[in-house]
């Protein structure tokens, strides 16, 4: 259903664009032609060429020769999101407002402040403009810390526990290098973070990488927080592999599900992809982060190498476990918008929107892996999420579709430069204008409930409805029969309530004494809704 408008727009949008632009000049153009012509202008010849532009490099295009002029039309089409003219009654770009989200978390408070130091992205070009940092750290401190963190991605707050005020802080690796450099400002800064929470004497640092990789990173100038430099911190490695390993693993998944699905050796071939093993490690890491913050009562700092792949997975999953708000449809959109989009997960590089080089080493299904983890959680806790499987699949479909601007570009600064919010439609517009389609009927809202999934192979399974959905033999029943039955019952309930109300009206009319009616409709309704 998503493809219909896409193809329609794809074939005509260029013409539309050019017509719009030129018609502003007040010239009459022939609509049927690829090249807009003046009255009397006729085409002589055309040819496909590569134009070497002195400023932008080679551009593929078609040159048209008319009796009036030479006309070059670029064949490089812009990403569809910029041409998409769909209209929705909700503006998805308004879903995420960082100030509002931090206010929801109770920020700023007397330990944490909102800083605009990165307003023009000069502190860190891959971070959002608005950051939450310790109250006691001055902007000058932040600048000094930035010199010691890879790509200036300094530790900033992602989430604060509403009760014990422990925090999840994210950043990139420290630039320790071979020589084991130290930076007093960075050390002091982490201590300031630790002190915002008075309940425990140590700050917990989770380095998402395997220990060996963290050590190896020293060779390229990176590294990790050593014991002797950071006395008040405890460091754990979470053994999650890098983007290249994940990419290869997904490739193997593709091999076992397409074109044929293994029958009797399905399990061992599934195991050989390691995909679920990676999922298990990511979930395990996130559980550890969440548990530390929630019951360990210790603030947590999470980083990997650059803090935009594994770090985003860990912080967002931990937040999903800890904060039930993110389990609602809009809450989840905010989570993605905040931890992934605004904090510079390199969507453009990881997905390669509009790029032909599919073998690029930057490609990696990190975001897909995150969504898979969310799916595993929703499978284990079928009543805890407001959204359904279709919601997650839709997000993934539009991660690649380029129909919406949501996942374009690598970071907020680039999006701002390209005016993405003005020129494209947000995916959340599509979803939020048709929320019912993405709702899980079993959803039971529960405040302050921490969800710990079981990260065991006994419970993890391949997401058949996503990875094998094109195989007609594996096709799952849609909608899920249990869900279907529940919806039928819901409808039945509503019908009965209606009938009961009618009966009551009829009765009270008959008796002409409504006060004797044992339960009036107004009493009825709240009773019915109490357990939702």
């Amino acid at each position: 259903m998503a493809s219909a408008p896409t193809s329609k727009y794809n074939s005509h949008s260029l013409e539309n664009e050019s017509i719009k632009r030129t018609s502003r000049d007040g010239v009459n153009w022939d609509l049927s032609e690829a090249v807009p012509r003046l009255p009397g202008e006729t085409r002589v010849a055309d040819k496909e060429v590569i134009y070497i532009c002195p400023f932008n490099g080679p551009i593929k295009g078609r040159v048209y020769i008319t009796n009036y002029r030479l006309y070059l039309r670029s064949l490089e089409t812009p990403i569809f999101a910029f041409l998409n003219e769909e209209k929705f009654n909700v503006d998805g770009w308004l879903v995420y407002n960082p100030v509002e989200e931090y206010r929801r978390q109770g920020l700023p408070n007397h330990h944490w402040r909102i800083t605009f130091i990165n307003k023009c992205y000069e502190l860190c070009d891959t971070y959002p403009s608005l950051l939450v940092v310790p109250y006691r750290a001055s902007d000058e401190d932040l600048r000094r810390v930035a010199t010691f963190r890879s790509r200036n991605r300094i530790p900033v707050l992602s989430w604060i526990h509403p009760e014990n005020k422990t925090v999840i802080v994210r950043c990139s690796q420290p630039l320790v290098g071979m020589s084991g450099k130290r930076n007093k400002d960075d050390e002091k800064y982490l201590d300031v973070i630790r002190e915002t929470n008075r309940q425990i004497s140590k700050l917990t640092i989770y380095d998402a990488r395997p220990n060996v990789n963290a050590v190896a990173n020293k060779a390229t100038g990176g590294g990790y927080e050593s014991d002797d430099a950071y006395h008040n911190a405890e460091l754990f490695f979470l053994d999650i592999h890098n983007i290249h390993v994940m990419r290869e693993s997904l490739k193997k998944v593709k091999d076992i599900v397409y074109p044929n699905v293994e029958e009797s050796h399905w399990l061992s071939s599934l195991e050989s992809t390691h995909w679920l093993e990676h999922i298990k490690l990511v979930l395990t890491g996130a559980i550890q982060v969440a548990d530390k913050v929630s019951s360990g009562k210790s603030s947590v700092l999470v980083h990997c190498s650059d803090g935009w792949d594994r770090t985003a997975q860990l912080t967002s999953l931990a937040m999903l476990m800890l904060d039930s708000f993110y389990r609602s449809i809009e809450g989840f959109e905010i989570l993605v918008q905040k931890e992934w989009i605004s904090f510079g997960h390199k969507f453009a590089s990881r997905i390669g929107h509009g790029d032909k080089n599919h073998a690029d080493a930057d490609r990696s299904p990190i975001f897909l892996q995150f969504i898979d983890c969310v799916w595993q959680m929703s499978k284990q806790f079928p009543t805890a999420f407001e959204f359904n499987e279709q919601f997650l699949i839709t997000i993934l479909d539009h991660l690649y579709s380029c129909r919406f601007g949501t996942f374009l570009y690598n970071c907020e600064s680039a999006r701002e430069r390209q005016k993405v919010t003005e020129r494209t439609v947000s995916l959340w517009s599509l979803i939020n204008s048709n929320k019912d389609k993405f709702k899980n009927p079993f959803y039971t809202k529960e405040i302050n409930r921490v969800l710990y999934p079981v990260a065991s192979m006994r419970h993890l399974e391949l997401w058949v409805n996503y990875y094998i959905r094109w195989n007609p033999r594996i096709k799952q029943q849609q909608p899920n029969p249990v869900e279907q039955r529940y919806l039928e019952l819901l409808a039945l309930r509503d019908e009965y309530i209606k009938r009961l109300e009618e009966l009551q009206l009829a009765n009270s009319a008959k008796l002409s004494d409504p006060s004797t009616s044992p339960s009036s409709p107004s009493q009825m309704m709240p009773h019915v809704q109490t357990h939702f």
Partner: protein, 762 residues
């Protein structure tokens, strides 16, 4: 932390009625169920110690005619469970820290609950039962006893103190009870070494580990127990669980004798027992098989064979005199008729003979039989030889013993160590593959019956193992009646009990031969589970029903699964009162268990016919594929033909049965039970609304029933519900302990930087 939610279950889940039908409790909402604690009666041997949530409107077509009553039996049973035992001393100290000062152990007297006819055999006090909690073990003091029915630990788990869910306890088998038949293996720990215990012991272990057939694992520390008590209890347990037993020593006889005053059967329970000619006639009528098949009474009083039921159904033109010729062998017996008139038949092979003359006689006999069933009105018959071209019983045995080991887990370390290679371990057991093959075979037969209008004749040596499995699977898939609870029970009664499946031998209840122990029935339940899992709305019962049913295989109160044949049951259950000496069971043929020695005779005799009738296997494959794919491409009619998905990812582990006792695998507040209970809440609400409407219609302005009291917060149930009662009490997450497996050829990738740019120069 409010981790425990009160639960009022559906369909008598709360009632956990001891014996006979969950539906019995279905109607008596709120009241105490009169069916509680009922002892077995002649008419109803159906074991349902723990009834299950039932599906909402399963059969709207039928239900619609009952007016508004389309919600079936999804009502709450009387919750009154047995009283929780009194608390005894609970130890939080590790065993090493315990001083064996007897006086400190303030053990209170805990009463042992005995069933009628149950006798205490031996006991030992100051036994420490280990409980796994948050990846460390703690102990609970108590008494370990052994009766002629069960091994029981009488300690007190503090969970029983404040646990609302105790009302869902199984009334017959408590949390710390192990029936003698449920014991699988006993290990002793001597100086940290684990050894299998059997026979006479020279040395007594300091720790006893019991692996159960329902996959529970118990650890009992005997270090603080008096030496003579250790001797008594250990040898007692070993003797009573492992020594060969006589049939008459089965507990169900003492129970039946002691619990004489049984109440009448619940008339609501319409399980057809197939013990009368009438039952078979009804079944023929129901399936419209009575045109071509007749019920015969030739075996009345077991005159012809003790292996066969007294009544059964054969093709109408078949002369009844033929039946006794080979004691019922070589006679096609009717299982079920399809809507198009095609029938599923089964036949036990003729005895193997060396003598040419006898062979000649057999051949002409079989030829006669085949002529009969090939003539009109019968359709063409396809013979399916399950002895030679399908699974062997040994395959099933081997697969299951490997498979169950994956779930008999001693501790947390073992759980996480095996987690990493879980899928390959699972695959190497072949259990799931065997399930797939059974389902596939059943689909093939369904295709013949449904699409090719062929009769199918299942052939097996005694027609009492794979015949039962395949024929009942086919019926579950083709006959929606078999997907109701009563229909399913009737099916088991027809195909398995009357079909002469040797439960006594296959479950090794008498401990006479390990070789004979093959979980064929369990395999059947697992196959049905796959169907229930894939198409839940097509069934009136849930997976919980199947799990409970599988447990009742080892509870010797219900006679259903404790005999090798209806004859054996009849003679024993009747003669018991007269105290006549029991005859040794004749009908447990040892021969032919291993299929390697394939029955050449049958092949020879049938060879010609079979080759004529069976299509080439390629063609069969094509037919199968076409049938399978076309069914799956259409929307499912839950009241019609039902086929399972059999692709790799679709065959799953029956998690409820196999993972239910493993604390590490528990999802707090999650699992399928979460949606299930939402569904049931909604059902109750719809039902109470309906009642209100009915009241209005009748003009009653009566007092409102407290419908809302039935609705409980359900989100905090554990995924192990209703079996293990929140084994993990804290809200701490479980964390894998074992690390990452080597990546092999990807090591070089793993070492690479995420980004190609060096960060050093930044």
């Amino acid at each position: 932390m409010g981790q425990r939610a009160e639960w009022v279950g559906p369909a008598g889940l709360g009632g956990a009625s001891g014996v006979s039908g969950g539906a019995g409790c279905g109607r008596c909402r709120g009241r105490r169920c009169p069916g509680d604690g009922r002892s077995p009666s002649r008419q109803c041997w159906w074991p349902l110690p723990l009834p299950e949530p039932e599906w909402p409107p399963l059969l709207p077509r039928v239900a619609a005619s009952q007016g508004g009553g389309m919600l079936g039996k999804g009502v709450v049973g009387g919750g009154g469970g047995t009283k929780a035992p009194k608390p005894s001393f609970v130890s939080y100290v590790r065993p090493e820290e315990i001083h064996t000062n007897e006086k400190e152990v303030t053990e209170k007297e805990v009463t042992l609950h005995l069933l009628p006819g149950e006798q205490l055999l031996c006991e030992a006090s100051t036994v420490l039962k280990y409980v796994q909690e948050d990846s460390c073990q703690r102990g609970i003091y108590g008494k370990l006893v052994c009766t002629d029915f069960k091994i029981a630990f009488l300690g007190d788990d503090e969970s029983a103190l404040d646990n609302d869910e105790t009302q869902f306890k199984n009334k017959v088998i408590g949390e710390n009870d192990i029936t003698l038949h449920c014991v699988d293996q006993i290990y002793g720990v001597f100086d940290e070494k684990k050894k299998t215990l059997f026979g006479q012991l020279k040395k007594y272990p300091e720790k006893l580990i019991i692996h159960c057939k329902d996959l529970r694992v118990f650890h009992f520390c005997l270090r603080y127990t008096k030496e003579e008590e250790v001797k008594r209890i250990v040898s007692g347990i070993i003797h009573h669980t492992q020594a060969p037993k006589l049939l008459k020593r089965l507990f169900l006889f003492s129970y039946a004798a002691a619990a004489r005053n049984s109440t009448a059967t619940d008339p609501k329970n319409h399980t057809v027992m197939f013990e009368t000619l009438q039952d078979w006639c009804w079944e023929l009528e129901r399936t419209k098989g009575n045109m071509k098949y007749k019920a015969v009474r030739v075996n009345e009083g077991y005159r012809v064979s003790e292996r066969l039921p007294e009544y059964f159904v054969v093709p109408t033109p078949l002369p009844e005199e033929d039946v006794p010729r080979f004691q019922g062998h070589g006679i096609p017996m009717w299982c079920w008729s399809c809507h198009n008139g095609c029938a599923l038949l089964k036949m036990s092979a003729l005895p193997k003979e060396q003598d040419d003359a006898v062979l000649q006689v057999q051949k002409s006999f079989l030829d006669g039989v085949y002529k009969t069933i090939h003539r009109p009105p019968y359709e063409i018959v396809k013979t399916e030889d399950l002895s030679s071209s399908f699974l062997s019983l040994q395959d099933i045995q081997t697969a299951h013993s490997k498979f169950k080991q994956l779930f008999l887990i001693d501790n947390s370390t073992e759980f996480w160590d095996t987690d990493i290679k879980w899928f390959s371990l699972l695959e190497s057991s072949s259990w799931l593959d065997i399930i797939r093959r059974c389902l596939k075979k059943a689909i093939e037969i369904t295709e013949c019956l449904e699409a090719q209008n062929m009769n199918v004749l299942l052939l097996e040596e005694n027609a009492s193992d794979l015949c039962c499995l395949i024929s009942s699977l086919v019926q579950v898939m083709m006959d929606p009646h078999c997907r109701t609870r009563v229909g399913f029970q009737s099916l088991v009664q027809k195909e398995w009990i009357m079909g002469g499946h040797c439960f006594l031998d296959r479950c090794n209840h008498l401990r006479q031969s390990d070789k004979e122990e093959v979980p064929v029935f369990l395999l059947f339940l697992d196959c049905v589970w796959q169907l229930v899992h894939q198409h839940p709305p097509a069934f009136e019962f849930t997976e919980t029903y199947l799990t409970v049913l599988s447990d009742s295989l080892y509870i010797p109160i219900f006679s259903t699964f404790f005999f090798n044949s209806p004859h054996q049951k009849d003679t024993n259950m009747h003669q018991r009162q007269l105290s006549l000496p029991l005859t040794q069971s004749k009908s447990s043929p040892k021969r032919g268990f291993f299929r390697e020695e394939t029955d050449h005779l049958i092949k020879n005799l049938l060879g010609k016919r079979i080759s004529k009738l069976i299509n080439s296997s390629d063609e069969l494959q094509d037919n199968f594929r076409e049938f399978y794919d076309s069914w799956h491409s259409k929307p499912t009619d839950y009241h019609g033909l039902l086929l399972p998905h059999i692709e790799g990812p679709e065959i799953k582990v029956w998690a409820q049965r196999y993972l239910r006792w493993i604390p590490e695998a528990q999802i707090l507040g999650g699992g399928r039970v979460a949606t299930m209970s939402k569904l049931l809440e909604m059902m109750e609400e719809v039902q109470s609304l309906q009642e209100k409407i009915d009241e209005r219609h009748h003009g009653q302005v009566a007092l409102q029933a407290e419908a809302s009291s039935l609705l409980r917060a359900s989100a905090r149930l554990s995924s192990l519900f209703p079996f293990a009662l929140l084994q993990r009490h804290s809200s701490k997450p479980v964390l894998p302990t074992s690390g990452w497996k080597a990546l092999g050829d990807e090591e070089d990738l793993a070492r690479r930087e995420d980004e190609s740019v060096d960060v050093g120069d930044l």
